[in-house]
Each structure stands twice: as structure tokens, then as C-alpha cells.
Amino acid sequence: MTLSDENAANIVAGTTQDHVSGNDSPKTYLDSNELIINMGPQHPATHGVLRVILKLDGERVLGTECVIGYLHRGVEKIAENRTYAMFNPYVDRMDYVAAVSNGLGYCEAVEKLLNVEAPARAKYIRVILAELNRIASHQLWLGTHALDIGAMTPLFYTFRDREEILKIFEKYCGARLTTHAFRIGGCLYETYAGFEKEVKNFVKFVTPKIDEYEALLTGNRIWMERTKNVGVISGPDCIALGVTGPVLRASGVQWDVRKAQPYAAYSEFEFEIPVGTTGDTYDRYLVRMSEMRQSLRIIEQAVNGLPEGPIMAKVPKVIKPPVGEIYHSIESPKGELGYFIVSDGTTQPYRLRVRPPSFVNLQALDVMVRGLLVADVVAVIGTIDIVLGEVDR
């Protein structure tokens, strides 16, 4: 059980020695206090099929190793065997809680490769849906994260409100989760009658709800004790580890692709990039909460200024981009989501690479949890906000 599992310990030690605990001497593996625990892939708090091997001293984490790939579907290989338009729905299956963002990134990347630009109205619709999706993703994150830390109730509140967003998606494109809302060159669907009104109503509806979540958690002593100074990561560390999104911003780096290299219509809206100071779990929580509010701001502006006009650019029926390659990235709810597409002039991408934010952010787990307790591992996995569909692709 504890010690008798020397075999297991050695197996893990063998795979992890250099990676998990480079600074530990090998003989510590035989120390009587060490315990190797396998968290996942079937574990309620690993948000899917993530497997984390924990090396513990009592309850203190000495090192971790993530074992991923349980959800690998070979998205990049599939892309090479599909036409550009056919591959579009596949990207929704990566970060399935933010499918709209995935689609947005892909469509914009291909448009860039084709050297076309979506019409203004399409861009606005894209922004509205992508920001709604950001709120939905953050709500889902908040609910599950709070559940991991032991607060059951916020989950149900966030899911109740996320439902309203999904209803808008469903009315717009017929799907709730994997939406396939956009097409290369713009949008396929015009907004439905009453879209603006519903979105505005949603903004009105959800603003007090966000305050409600905060009322439950922000000032809660136990919540603060569980999240403050837990999983601290500094700004330079984040940059070195390639961590992006709310995690980076919570560490004090004010960087958002929407501001730094604006895409869609983001340059036309006023919004702020919330940043944290300490880079702990609590800051990441606060950053995401204010991000939801900023998203509402963007949505409001976009709905009020929704221009008239076509929603589809002139794109040939058969999409055949010229030979060349492009890298395009957007700010997905998880971080920088990039698409690197190499075209050989045919209808199928020669090579399509997805730069998944969850995958890169997950690397920071080891840095963040060392020296913390098992309970914190759960909190930190939650706070990185990974979606295994995107990590494994």
C-alpha cells in the first residue's frame, strides 16, 4: 500500500526521474514517506481524461507527471484529408466548451490564407457569439472549479445562466455545443428575428448573476483560504512556459490577443484587460470574473452597433488557397489559440497545426503545484481551465 508498492514507485520513478523531479536525488524514492498516487484518468476532479501521477510526501506534492492523449483523435491528420470547408466542424470538437472561438480562429486563418476579409456585419456577429461563448466557457469553468474546491452550489447557478447562452446559439445556428456557427468568408446564417433583443436581454439578465456568483465566493473566507497563494506563478514564468490567457493575465502581464493583434472587429470596441497581481488561484478567479463583465461590455457595444450589409464575403465555391502558409491566432477563453496552415494550392490543407492553449497551459501544472498539498492540485487543475478535448486533440 504505502511502501510495499516499490515496483510501482520504481516504474513511475523511471519515467519521471528527470522530468518530474529533476532536483531530487534518486534515493529519495525509497524514502518511507513517499506515496505515488495516480489521479485519473477516471477522477472527478481532472476534468476529463487527464491522468496525473503525483509523487507525495505525506500530502505534500513533490512532483507531478501528466499523462495525456486519452482523447487524442488526430485532428491534425484529419485536416490533411478534408477540404477546408469540411474540416470546419472538426475544430468545434477540440475545445468543446468554446466551440465558437475555435471556429472563429479557423475561419479567420483560412480567410487570411485566401486573402479575403469577412464583411463588417459578419465580423460583428462573430464577436457577439465569440464573447457569449467566452462567458459560457468561464461560467462552466467557475462552476466546476468551485465544485472541485468543495462549493457545490455555484455549479448549478452557472449552468442555469449558461443555458441562456446556449439557447441563443441554438436559435442562431441550431446547435448548442459544437455550433459550427461560422463559415470561411463570413457567416452562413443571418441573425434571427429578435436576436439583438435577446442578446441585450441576456446582458441585462446575466450582469446581476455574475454579482451573485461573486457574492457566494469572492468574500468567502474558506474560498479565499483555499485559493489565495495557491498555485502561484510569476509573469516571467508564465511567459517562459508559454502560458497565455487568464492565467498569464492573473500573473500581471497585460496581454490579450484581442488588444495586441486585434482580429475580427475587436479594434472597434472599448474594453479593458483585467490583470491580477500575485498570479495565484484567487487572482485567476478574479480575472475571469471581470473578463466576463468585459465580455458583456463588448457584446453590448457590438449589438448596439451591429452594421447592416452582407454577411458573406466573395469566396469561391471550392476553396483553394494559393500555395503558402499562415499563422493566425485568436484569444480563446483559455488563451492564445493559433492555427498554422500550410497550403499546397489544393482544396485540402497540406498541413494544419493547432496551437492549443490548454495543452501549453497544462505544462505549468507541475511548476504550480510543487510543494502544495493534494487538495491544491485539484484547485490548480481547475484554475488552469483545461479542456481535454483541446489538450489531446
Binding site: K77, T83, G242, Q261, K320, S329, F340, V342
Partner: protein, 220 residues
């Protein structure tokens, strides 16, 4: 995992001469010659001349000048659709990347990936996508290497490249020397072959796996 280990795919897929990636279309033919529009378009594309588009133009910038004077012909800078990339010789790799980080503030390695061109002499193109917070600028560094060649790891330069290099190894079989844990990351340890190579036969693998493990003919 252990079951797939029993299957040996390596021999024919690795050594075989490069075949065009026609996995989808071949399956379409088998199931009754049903040709989609995409298939037809794809067929046409092979014969028709490529559509006109922008072409990469040389990129002139102080950064490029500086390193060209240092490295000479081993470095070629181009820009395509406003995106800059530098193609360098593989011998420059760790030093040039380190210089980019230290001297040019490219402190964030966004991604590492590779592209397989089976017909070229140096089959693989490995690409580092870099970003500089200070300059708000992206840059791609490309290197061409032959099959079986390895590259020095850049984990010591950007720690983010740890898993990214493992993924490149997993998908393309390119070894990064000096990487702390050069093992497969997404695929199970006993997997044969590297799927993102153009000569990787999915259907063959599937048929073989089904035959060996299930004892029936594959329906694919």
C-alpha cells in the same frame, strides 16, 4: 495500449516509397466509387495550374541584416501576407534561437511544429513560432532537416517547448537532443510510426489491428 504494441507496422510504412495521401479517396472508391465534389476538385487541382496568389517576398529589416552579417548565407528572411519568417541552417539552431530570445526579446515561444515534404531531399521543415511581447511581433524560424536527423532541444531556452517538442517527436519522429524526456506524449508508448508523416498509412494500420486483435476483416 499493450495490444497495439503487438502489431508491427513499421516495416512497410517506413521503408516504402512515399505515396500520395489518398486515404480518404481510396476508401470512397471502395465503397462504391462515390466521388464527392471535394474529390473531384482535388483531382483537378493536381492537373490545373495553381491559382494565382501572393508570393513570398524577401524581408528586409534591421534584425535580418544584423544576423545575415553574422551568419551569411545560412539565413534567409522572407515575408508572406505580412508574416515574417526566417529560414536558417540547422547548424545555427540553438544559438540563433537563444540570440532571438536574449537580444531580440522573442521571449515567448508560441509553438513548435513540423511539416513533412516527402519529395524533398530534406524531408522535414521544423518551425518555431515566436512572439515578442516588447515588439508585439511574430516571427517564424524554419529549419530543414533530413529524415532521421535530429535537432538540439530548445527547452533550456523556452521551457514551453518541453511538451511541444515531444509532440513533434510523437507525430513526426524528429528527435530533439538534450530534451529531458524525449518520449511520446499524445500517443501510447507502444505506438508504431509517426502519424503526421505523409507516408503513414492509417487504413493499413486499422486493418492490421482489427485482424490481429479482433480476428475479423476490417470494415474500412
Amino acid at each position: 495500449m499493450a495490444r497495439t504494441m503487438a502489431v508491427n507496422y513499421g516495416s512497410q510504412t517506413m521503408a516504402e516509397e512515399i505515396k500520395p495521401p489518398v486515404l480518404l479517396s481510396s476508401s470512397a472508391q471502395k465503397t462504391g466509387g462515390e466521388t464527392s465534389a471535394a474529390k473531384a476538385a482535388s483531382g483537378k487541382a493536381a492537373t490545373a495550374k495553381n491559382p494565382e496568389g501572393p508570393v513570398p517576398i524577401p524581408w528586409a529589416a534591421p534584425l535580418v541584416e544584423k544576423y545575415r552579417s553574422q551568419y551569411g548565407s545560412g539565413l534567409e528572411a522572407q515575408t508572406y501576407l505580412g508574416q515574417n519568417y526566417v529560414t536558417v541552417d540547422s547548424s545555427l539552431i540553438p544559438n540563433f534561437l537563444r540570440q532571438l530570445r536574449d537580444d531580440e526579446q522573442f521571449d515567448y515561444c508560441v509553438d513548435i511544429t513540423a511539416v513533412h515534404y516527402p519529395k524533398r531531399e530534406k524531408q522535414f521543415e521544423v518551425i518555431w513560432i515566436l512572439y515578442s511581447f516588447a515588439r508585439n511581433e511574430r516571427l517564424r524560424v524554419k529549419v530543414h532537416i533530413a529524415d532521421g536527423a535530429s535537432l538540439p532541444s530548445s527547452v533550456s531556452i523556452w521551457s514551453s517547448t518541453n511538451w511541444l517538442e515531444r509532440e513533434v517527436f510523437d507525430m513526426f519522429g524528429i528527435q530533439f537532443v538534450g530534451h529531458p524526456n524525449m518520449t511520446r506524449i499524445l500517443l501510447p508508448e507502444g505506438w508504431k510510426g509517426h502519424p503526421l508523416r505523409k507516408d503513414y498509412g492509417i487504413l493499413q494500420q486499422d486493418q492490421e489491428w482489427v485482424q490481429i486483435n479482433l480476428g475479423i476483416e476490417s470494415g474500412q
